[in-house]
Structure formats: C-alpha cells, structure tokens
Symmetry: C2
C-alpha cells in the first residue's frame, strides 16, 4: 500500500501527541522541554516543529489527548450503569484504575495541570478549569437524574456530592502516587461508596431522611 | 548596632529561603530557576550561591521552610483543642485557611511537591513522602487518643480517617485554587465535619454503632 504524504504526516503528528501525552503527564506539562519530546519520539526538533507551531501548542494537544483517554473511560463507565448509584460507583472505579496507571500513567492529567499551572500559566490553567468543570457537571448531572428518577433522596445536593467525590478521589490519587500504594485510593472508594449509598432512596420508607448528611 | 558578618550572612540566607519558599510554592519547586530567585531577592547569582551549594539545596530548604509554616499552624490548632473531635476540626480549619492563602500562598507545599516530583524527582519526592507521612500519623494519633479516651467509637479506624481527611481537603484545595473559589473547600470541610461527628461516642447510648461507616 502506498501511504500518501498527508496521511503519513497525520500519522507522525498523532504519534508525537500520543508519546508527548504519556511523557508530560509524568514529567510535567509546563516544564518538560521539546528535547524530552525529541528523546521520546526519536525525531529531530524540526521534525516536531513541522507539526506544531510551538511547544505550547504541542502541550495543549498532548493534554487534550490525555483528557480524551479519560473521557472515554468515563463514558464507558456511565454506559455500563443501570442506575445513578451504579453510575457514581463506576466513576469511582475509573479513578481507582487511574491509581493503577490505567488508561494513563502519571495520574489525573487535569489535577497535574491544575497544580502546575494555577499560579504559573493562565492558558493551561483555563484548559484544566474547563475539563474539571465538565467532570464536576457530569457528576452533578448523574445525581440530578437520580433524584428525578427517585433513586436518590431529595436532600442529596448535586454540587456538594460532585465536590466531595472529586476532591476525595483526586486527593487519594495524589497520596497513592506519592506512596506508591493504592491502599489510599481503596480507602477513598470505600468511604465514597458508603457516603453515596447513604443517599439511596428507600421507597418502602417513603424516602426516609439521610441519617448522615442531614445531621 | 554593629552587625557581625556572620549574623548578616545568616540574615541574608534566611531572607533567600523565605522569599524562595513563597516563589517556589506558587511557580513550582523543580522548575523555577535560580534567575527567578534572583529577581525575587534582588541578589546576584553569586550572592545566592554564597549561601547554597546548589539550586537543589535551596529548593529543599525553601520547601522545609514552607512545611515549618504549616507545622506551626497544625501545632497551634492542636493546642487549642479540648478533645479529639475539636482537634480534627481545627486541622480542617488549617486547610480552610490555606485555601485563603494563609500562612502560605500557592496551596499545600507537600501536595505541590508530590504532584511535581512523584514521577520526576526522587529526592524531592522522598521529602514530600516524609512530610505527608508525618501529617497522616498526626491525624491517626489524634483519632487513636480519642478512642482511648472514649470520645470516639471503637469502629473509628485511625488510618481510614486520616486518609479520608487528608485526601478530601487536599483535593478540595486543588479545586478551590483552580477555580479561585473557596466554596469547594467549604463543602469539603462541611462534609468532613459530618463524617467525623458520626464517630463521636454517645456514652449514654453505651457507645452505639456508627450509623454511617458501619453500613
């Protein structure tokens, strides 16, 4: 088969983005240099800058590639769930897998960019803000739909649940990566499973009050 | 008053460490350069390397200075508490203050170093591991002492509580910094207050079971 130059160019560009995503998610998005990407891809500087106007453009493409990998996992998780509690549990499993290096090594790309960029790089910070905002809204939407379908009790606040879920798994991911021990993530998931279960509507009890959060 | 050269040297060294701590906690520990420190301190390169053998030595000193600022806050918090629940609540307030930029701008130095270094710098990563491990043990110790004094129920697991507390506030701090909105930290603190209160021993009920975590 004859590969057209345009297709070959796209192939090389995709290869650079993919390898850069893995590299930058581990070594840092802002400060990894184009030389690091050259080492990883086996390309010369010119071979990289043929495809990207700047290191910044490559960084953002690599980050978006990493985010897409995560989004695929979240979408699969949500598709597999039969109700809102299962959907939230599946989201927790995506984070548990991330602590095991799947689908990406280096942890959560958005937390990594957030920590690196929040006081240092407004453009990347805005990217992280958009992605994190989408994740927060997805969790809120699952909770709201669960309330509408009376699977979750009325006292369950979508914004509160989204913040607690995301904060806890992101913090636990940081601990698990730091100590190279997934027990921290396991504890966080166990805790959040209990927390979320406490919002499950007991229809036979006429949607009784949540004994925990409504104290 | 005549200032001796030795005292002047110590004064300059301390000034460098203090300014570097503020800078590196915001702009990054690994990748901020000695030129950034020069700009911040108004010193020439030689004036800095008079006091530190390397950028790495300055980075570690700056990080330890930042950690000491945090440790002072934790110690004050623990001293003010009358029982274990109050002590845990006070620890939460230290993190809430941190989301407001007190005592340090730039968030939690240990989380910052953890995210930057876990796949990139073994020496700094080990520093972060030691500090985080100490914080984890402090929370565990407060919980254990609360159980011994029968303020907290026997089912309350010190390691679990320490992981949940630290994960949730660290994750919330990341969100609050990213969105420049302390509501995320406020939600985390409210959640953890409920969570911790659910472990309080009800002596009149013969230390009844925890309705939440023991589900």
């Amino acid at each position: 088969m004859v590969v057209s130059p345009i297709r070959k160019g796209t192939h090389t560009r995709n290869m650079i983005v993919e390898k850069a995503a893995i590299l930058l998610n581990q070594k840092g998005y802002i400060h990894s240099s184009v030389y690091d990407v050259m080492r990883e891809t086996g390309l010369q500087k010119g071979g990289i800058y043929n495809h990207f106007r700047s290191k910044e453009e490559l960084t953002i493409e690599a980050y978006r590639f990493a985010v897409t990998q995560m989004r695929i996992e979240f979408e699969k998780a949500l598709l597999e769930a039969h109700n809102s509690l299962e959907a939230l549990f599946e989201v927790l499993e995506v984070f548990r897998n991330l602590a095991h290096g799947h689908p990406l090594k280096g942890g959560c790309p958005t937390m990594n960019i957030a920590i690196e960029s929040d006081d240092a790089d407004p453009v990347l910070c805005e990217e992280a803000r958009n992605t994190m905002s989408q994740l927060h809204k997805t969790v809120q939407m699952v909770v709201s739909s669960g309330k509408t379908r009376r699977e979750l009790i009325p006292a369950c606040d979508p914004e509160q649940v989204a913040t607690i879920l995301i904060s806890t798994v992101e913090g636990a991911l940081m601990l698990s990566k730091l100590f190279q021990d997934t027990v921290y993530m396991d504890r966080a998931v166990t805790h959040l499973q209990s927390y979320l279960t406490s919002f499950v509507s007991k229809r036979e009890e006429n949607q009784g009050e949540n004994a925990y959060e409504s104290k």
